[in-house]
Amino acid sequence: MKIIFLGTSSGAGKTTITALYCRYISRKGIRTAPFKASNLSLNSFVTKDGHEIGMGQAFQALASGTEPSGDMNPILLKPSGNGVMQIIVNGEARDSIGGCTHTDISVMMKEAYTAFDRLSEEYEAVICEGSGSPAELNLMDRDIANIGLMRERKVPAILVGDIERGGAFAALYGTWLLMPEDVRPLLKGFIINRFRGDPSILAGATDKITELTGMKFIGTVPYMELKFPEEDTMSDTGGRLEGPTPADAFLNNLDSLMETAERVGFGIEIIDEILSS
């Protein structure tokens, strides 16, 4: 089983919602792994198998109740200043872009999707997170983490729109419109994130998006500030003897976000349907 959460922009809330769903589905007894094909991040986490992965996937592994591994984030891009990017593929520094060298995209894709396949064999469900927006017209042909993965592994997708800045409906519809025709049918549902107030006032608009795109409206996720634990305190008790550990606090936060979302009618069962379809 597999699914990918895409964002209409960076910071739309993909990481949190992916973690939320990892937590939810793993608690049902399904062996779950998070996955993000490529990640642009300065903050990385070192796994027990000695690989560097993005912090987001480490959190999501924690939420899935599993050990973070290198396969969960096979490609890590680390800005090393002056517009140069270090590329770490499967834990090894390969190349850098921004200068004159250019790693072959197809090679990276192959590595990334093979890591995805390994996770698919090892786990019952692989919950993927996209990167940035999948609708960047100037990057589409080089997109590994969104369109590439969907196309190569037929991963159904859910779009996450951030309503805090406004324009969420435009972003959802625009993203859908700009998707290449072969992957567009894989967009199955959408979520409105960071919503304040009574979701019923959105009804007309969400219906309209469904009517225009066929994507199902899954629900709104209320605005909430989530505190992510620090890197060094994430996997164990962080040396604390009493009180909740930062990791526990993070999980508790996820749980209360989930509760609040369900209270306002978040249709998580729709995601289940998409996942198992």
Partner: protein, 605 residues
């Protein structure tokens, strides 16, 4: 009337003088104005395009044309005077003056055109785009007015006529070269009072409190639309161009038919639109395409150009995407604007919500982050000094500060109660005499010994409240009355000039040494409270830190303040804003297709 006749006679005798830059009030209307007729020779012209009949306070029917700029247009002043010369008119009562007016109007009066800047999101860069366009048009010699039909902001400013409008429209009007922004430029101002209720201001005056449902259900369809229509009409009669700013996204389809801030206003003004998209967060192409395509077909055609804003790094990298976008939308991408570092006041309370600190200078100024903080742009001028602002919500966060500021609030008594719950009242009082403490407006009211609100006019709880007791003052809310006034005066200790404005309910009985002397219609008035020994400062004046006089006076009490301050030249905040507007408009001139802009303005498809 006789007085005016005499003045006009003198003006005719003097002849054409153009722009009088030697006049101490220059420019009293706009940069480049014609000053030949300080008093209009056509008064009262009784032309409804330029003014209206009102009943004066004494009950007389008089012609009011305060905002008319016609006679100050360079081409009009010159033409009128040359006509007077040609016809040998020397008497202000000469009946032929009427025909000169007719000729001038026929030759030079034309209703202005409007253009609207829409954003795909809030924070897309609409405000700065409007400011830049205003300045670009002003530089080309046009008379330009900014306009935002409906603005939601807690940062308001008082106009010369005593109306409250959003801060950002006053900045944009400065960009347009105008001296006096007025209530027509932001006729509806929403000041949020909680998550769902806002105080609605119409043409600068309080209209009432509305919740979301009533605002869209009752206010917008009636008085809302009417207000927008009336003010657009008003501005079109006086300016060549109105540069309108939208609000949020124009594609919120759940309120589309009730939206008077975006396409609704553009339709009323018959304005072509430019869509601005912030590329910083990613997804810009999707936002652009989605915004246009979610609009009903008859409205899509209004969008004549797209601006991709806030591009970091190499602009050329985005060009292929921009070309593709043009093909998809069949709308030109008329600007690729790089990220510009501008220091303009923060518009949005959203931008400040999660903010813990700002700046990294050596003087730490702690600002109490009141839950209902208002007019926090008061603090902006501090960033010009060597300061670091720390936003404080817990008593322990005050440790290590060099000074404390208690800012303005939408609700003094409720926020005073919050201060007490947090223990911040005692923590602030504990700093008395150790570091300088400044209260502005609501913060100043809190510094009183007692606050009396017997009828619950200010707060949700009525009664008498013990204040912070830093001043021996008593603040009262006896009646529901709001004071809104612009002020000019001086800092008493140094005699240096200060400016500011007051917006508040309640009055204070002051038993302290005053800080300022304010020029009033009925003579000078003392304002504020000052205890030098204990380094306590309090004032009702917003914007008081903008002129260096008081800002530096206050900061000189911070330990080491004098030494730090003497190392740099004091800057007037107005000059800083002007410099930033110039920076902004030249960046737009360089990176935006201004030819295209002019064509859109001229109504080309």
């Amino acid at each position: 009337m006789d007085n005016i006749t005499k003045k006009v006679k003198e003006e005719i005798e003097r002849g054409w003088i153009g722009s009088d830059t030697n006049c101490p009030y220059h420019p009293c209307h706009f940069g480049g104005q014609d000053c030949t007729f300080c008093f209009c020779p056509f008064y009262p012209c009784c032309d409804e395009n330029f003014g209206r009949n009102i009943i004066s306070r004494r009950g007389a029917d008089i012609w009011e044309c305060t905002f008319c700029l016609f006679i100050h247009r360079p081409e009009v002043g010159k033409f009128v005077m040359s006509e007077f010369g040609r016809l040998g008119i020397i008497d202000p009562k000469d009946p032929r003056i009427g025909s000169v007016f007719g000729a001038a109007k026929k030759k030079f009066f034309r209703r202005g055109r409007a253009i609207m800047v829409l954003g795909a999101t809030s924070d897309a860069g609409k405000s700065i785009t409007v400011a830049a366009i205003c300045r670009i048009l002003h530089n080309r010699g046009y008379l330009v007015a900014p306009f935002k039909s409906q603005n939601m902001s807690l940062n308001s400013k008082v106009t010369r006529m005593g109306h409250e409008i959003a801060m950002i429209q006053t900045i944009q009007s400065k960009a347009a070269g105008l001296k006096n922004p007025d209530q027509h430029m932001n006729p509806i101002l929403l000041k949020p009072k909680g998550d769902t209720i806002s105080q609605v201001m119409v043409e600068g005056e309080s209209y009432g409190d509305f919740n979301v449902e009533d605002y869209y259900g009752k206010f917008v369809p009636g008085p809302g639309i009417e207000t927008v229509r009336k003010n657009i009409d008003f501005l079109k009669n006086r300016y060549d161009f109105i540069v309108m700013e939208g609000a949020g996204s124009p594609a919120e389809i759940n309120i589309y038919d009730r939206d008077i801030a975006n396409i609704g206003a553009a339709k009323i003004a018959d304005a072509p639109c430019i869509l601005v998209v912030n590329v910083e967060w990613g997804g810009a192409f999707a936002y652009a395409v989605g915004t246009v395509r979610l609009m009903p077909e008859e409205d899509r055609g209004r969008i004549k150009g797209v601006i991709l804003n806030n591009i970091r790094g190499d602009i050329s990298k985005i060009s292929p995407g921009a070309k593709e976008l043009e093909k998809i939308l069949r709308i030109p991408v008329m600007g690729l604007i790089p990220h510009i570092n501008v220091e303009l006041p923060m518009e949005d309370s959203e931008a400040m919500r999660g903010m813990k600190s700002r700046g990294n200078g050596s003087m730490v100024v702690s600002v109490i982050k009141l839950p209902r903080i208002a007019n926090f742009t008061d603090l902006d001028p501090l960033y010009m000094e060597d300061t670091a602002i720390r936003f404080v919500t817990e008593p322990e966060e005050l440790e290590g500060s060099g000074a404390i500021i208690i800012p303005g609030t939408k609700n003094t008594t409720d926020d005073l109660i919050w201060m007490k719950e947090k223990g911040l009242d005692k923590a602030v009082a504990g700093k008395k005499g150790k570091i300088p403490i400044l209260g502005i407006c609501g913060g100043y009211q809190m510094m009183s010994r007692v606050l009396e609100d017997p009828n619950g006019i200010e707060g949700s709880v009525s009664g008498s409240f013990e204040g912070l007791g830093l001043f021996d003052n008593i603040t009262r809310w006896d009646e529901y009355r709001k004071k809104v006034i612009q002020a000019e005066g001086m800092l008493l200790r140094t005699g240096e000039p200060v400016t500011g404005y007051e917006i508040h309910m309640g009055t204070s009985e002051v038993n302290e040494e005053p800080l300022f002397c304010i020029k009033g219609i009925s003579g000078d008035e003392k304002e504020g409270s000052f205890r030098e020994k204990e380094m306590l400062f309090g004032t009702y004046l917003h914007g008081i830190l903008e002129k260096p006089a008081f800002r530096r006076f206050f900061l000189s009490y911070v330990r080491g303040g004098k030494a730090v301050l003497s190392a740099s030249e004091p800057i007037d905040y107005d000059d800083l804003i002007e410099e930033n507007i110039r920076k902004l408009s030249s960046a737009f001139e360089e990176n935006m297709d201004t030819e295209r802009l002019m064509k859109i303005l001229e109504g080309e498809p």
